[in-house]
Symmetry: D2
Subunit: 344 residues, 4 copies
């Protein structure tokens, strides 16, 4: 018996990416893909990369149809999943939210950054933050998953070995992170036109970005105390990929950082610590669920530099969501996620 899957919000980039991965998942049957704007259209007429590969129509998001699924992914704008999650959970459906509705435990903080009232704060407490490298066991037993954001995934995986081992000054962490433009979504906005973002590079939201409280929450949980992080996101003229460059002041006698990173991720199927001296390209992981990390300590310096790359749409969104689904349903965690990165 295959797992019956529903996808709400199938026309955004994370929705399409779920389809790309799940089409080749041997234990999954895609039953429902919803889209208010494209209801009734064939998926492959909107996304011709599925021509010949997927025989499915977009439908309205109806709770009764979705409730027939075993699991429903929400690849929707923030504030959508929280409207349907309670009923789906009550009817025995697992829910995996790729947006931010259930990521931040402090409701007040969430409401401030997301500019809306949370309709089911009690579910936030119940939700498991779907970062398998931290919460694998909890995920296996979860019914509601809050999939991590793209920036938070790359930054947390880069800082965790340092923080868990108490190696750095937690008062002055810096995360200088660069994202491809698909992170901004599939929205009709002048600012993300090719003529506006091509051949140019910029920082944005230096004063504050929604992913900052999410990252801080994860780092503080690992540290067991307060952490101060400066987080500066940038837009880089490419479609996919995130590159996090992380800086921290390292404590004396902190040991061999390369070994510490390799040891931390030795059993992780999707996190690779590159050999000493390497610098990961974002293309190394394009289209795949992998994270590549390199750790450097420049000579005569007490500053550690960590480089962490992911594909924002895969390990930063749809791939990680499928990884969570595999864990929930007791499948091989890597199932359907063996896609080789596309080079060149």
């Amino acid at each position: 018996m295959k797992i019956k899957v529903g996808i709400v919000g199938g026309t955004g980039y994370t929705g399409v990416e779920l389809l790309r991965i799940l089409v080749n998942h041997s234990q999954v049957e895609i039953c429902v893909v919803t889209s208010r704007s494209d209801t009734g259209k064939r998926v492959d007429s909107v996304y011709p990369n599925f021509f010949g590969l997927l025989d499915l129509l977009f439908s309205e998001p109806e709770i009764d149809r979705l409730a027939e699924c075993d699991v429903v992914f929400f690849a929707t704008p923030n504030g959508t999943a929280m409207l349907m999650a309670r009923e789906l959970l009550d009817r025995g459906v697992k829910v995996i939210d790729l947006a931010a509705d259930f990521r931040i435990k402090n409701i007040e903080v969430w409401e401030k950054w997301y500019g809306q009232k949370h309709v089911c704060p009690e579910l936030v407490a119940e939700a498991v933050y779907g970062l398998p490298e931290v919460n694998r066991d909890k995920i296996k037993k979860a019914t509601l998953i809050a999939c991590p954001g793209c920036y938070p995934t790359s930054v947390q995986l880069g800082f965790l070995p340092l923080i868990e081992n108490g190696l750095i000054d937690l008062g002055h962490l810096i995360a200088d992170v660069k994202s491809g433009v698909s992170g901004a979504g599939r929205k009709a906005q002048v600012g993300i036109l090719m003529s506006e973002t091509g051949e140019s590079f910029k920082a944005y939201s230096v004063a504050g970005h929604r992913h900052l409280p999410e990252i801080s929450q994860g780092l503080e949980q690992a540290a067991g105390c307060d952490v101060h992080l400066t987080f500066v996101p940038h837009l880089t003229p490419m479609i996919r990929g995130i590159h996090a460059t992380l800086y921290a002041k390292i404590n004396k006698g902190s040991g061999d950082l390369q070994e510490i990173f390799e040891h931390r991720y030795a059993d992780e199927p999707f996190v690779d610590v590159l050999p000493r001296g390497n610098h990961p390209d974002t293309r190394n992981v394009r289209g795949s669920n992998r994270c590549q990390i390199a750790v450097h300590q420049p000579e005569n310096s007490d500053t550690v530099v960590v480089l962490s790359v992911i594909d924002n749409l895969v390990k930063g969104a749809a791939g990680q969501a499928v990884q969570n689904m595999n864990l929930i349903f007791g499948l091989d965690e890597k199932m359907a996620l063996g896609i080789v990165p596309l080079y060149p």
Copy 2:
């Protein structure tokens, strides 16, 4: 028993692409990957997209090791495969050449365009041109395959339904074809630097290009007579993809072209005829072995316009090579080729 595969020239883009596809081929064991320049290095140290996915070293191209394989792919510069093909064939190894050594039946024409003496013209006669949409039955029985070039694949698939049905004036065919820069290979040349090819578009080799005689040979075989083609290749500022725009004068009363194309490719697993009025993007097939075709006849015009797109490194090279291998070994033609195109 898995098929033992050898790859000669594993460090070029078509070689890496063979690896990307074959790593997930359940019936294949990759035994040898050669590279003179990188002998002894781990594949994933040169191509970090294979980190954690492939445990293999590059080796010298030694005939004895290659002869232990069931099939050897040549992803080498033109003129290399012809030096080793005879001995491998004599020792019972199938040979699939991704370069041009065995594509052109007229040796004189080959020697003129490729600027060298052919060392085994007798093998050229024996070789099967590996375009499954034309030669599927011959391929199944072949021992030596000449894989079609990238431009020739896109142009032939676009013109074939028109020519086979005698619908167009063969005296004035035009193929205006645009390729991404990976088609130029992985060579240290100023002309293909990002600073030289990014944000710019140009035609090249208008006076004559090596792929012209290959295309003409294929079209003339389909026509059973001479064909005159003007072929203008262009370089477009993207990495992967070929878009052929084909023009021909159509004969009166030639019927419904859409139906003719759909009928021609109805049973082809990798050729999609898009619905009326569509225009394929090259990204529709990025990373996949598919060809998408649309046929248009502008109003009040006797000119037919065919749009044909492929990924130059897949259906135009490594993917088609694996498709040929599957046919030769009696496997499902689609095995390992179910990769969904990467969008966005």
Copy 3:
């Protein structure tokens, strides 16, 4: 006394481009730049490339302020200039329209392609088509200029020497033209997002494009008879530039085409015929008002291939508009247009 200039629609790409050129025009004073959406804002707050270079606010398009100018450029959507042109002309203001309102002499054809009723057909008859290489003398005396479209500029300049000299079969012309995405304008549309147009190439509007009747009108005027053109526009993943690849069947004994082209454009300040065997890159003219042309005749062929490149926003729009202004006001035609193309 400087020429007082008004620009209506200063927030689109052609409007900004007018500013870029006119800021360094020694005989011009920019008096008014209108924008409904950005009224009251500093130009350099919307377009920070003008920071420190331009001290001006966007204003509402008010006829009285515009009427104080010597010349008003319309860098507006189609159908806007025709609403204000009559009054401005009556009040002695020269009008240069960068949109299509006055380009097509046949009102019926215009109304069909532009989907609206023309409000001042009598002005269409009066307007001069602003292609200086054809209409220089008329432009000098004009009060109303219809600036040519970007595609039509590149295609006409490429075909004119062949047509004017009666060298080609007018029944089967083909223009396969590729444009950067800035040609689609600065509009909030999903189809021109970087994630949608980057790393991909496609044809569009094969069934028919608005620029077809404009091109045909120009070619037919040169030919003195009917011309049949197949015109296929394509979108190429770069910001600026148009590359036209033109095909025609050449008559026997048509002479040395290189010489014919060089002779035709010998005195043209902005049209360069490249030496034999060259292929122009679009970047050769990036940011400049130049057109580069190469003419080829592949061996053993009766097909001539012309390559013609321009920057769509300069020679295809704002630069050509300034060239027209210079002619109207009796200035050096090249004034402010000596910008060197940006390479790399």
Copy 4:
């Protein structure tokens, strides 16, 4: 009498960029452009963007011809200018080196990072570091200019107001800097092919980069004491532009940073401090000699973030070199540098 200019190394990107700027400099006559590889060729045959704009041949670098110039620019690889500078200076020619030969005062440090013996250390002492915002008066009297590197220009201009006013902790400065690929030059190298650098982002040289000692020297001179900087350069998939993101721990009571920056650069013709809350795009300065800076202090944080963008080939190389030339010859510092940034 015009200034006679010689350019040694005219075929690299900084050499071509000098030509682009100087072609429109009213007080300059370009007398010699040398290139060993292209001797005897027309400049516009190698760089067709100069077609119709420049009537000049590349020549061998002969000392006697160069000695006839008033000023010679070296747009050469490191280690070239030092071989000819002494003789040119002795013969009364001003020398402006765009490479690194005279930038670092400590010869030992220079020799370590540049891997060669310095042949004229006495000239290093004499040379003026050509950053007008720091050394304007010295430049006016100089005969030998060491033009700053591209990274050092962007980083120093961003940090200087903070350091000169003693506002930050000098023990932990961080410069996370991103460059377009033209910074890597016009060399036949696989690593900078479009297929290798397009659609990907990476850090490099984290362990140490040649520009680090140059930046440190400049910052330490401003500070009057030791400075510890962590400098991480990155390659971003675009052609032109540098974006420096700078981090420092700010002292308490350091005043209004916006005002301090605006005051520092109030009289600088090429440095713009953007209004509060802005984030500069690199395209804001594309093709121009301008530097745009924004200063931010995230809420509840003692970390200051400075964003500083330049065009690496202009303010980071050829433009700054011409700015130096203008100063040396007593011309308006802005002459020929009024080029408006190219947008889009």
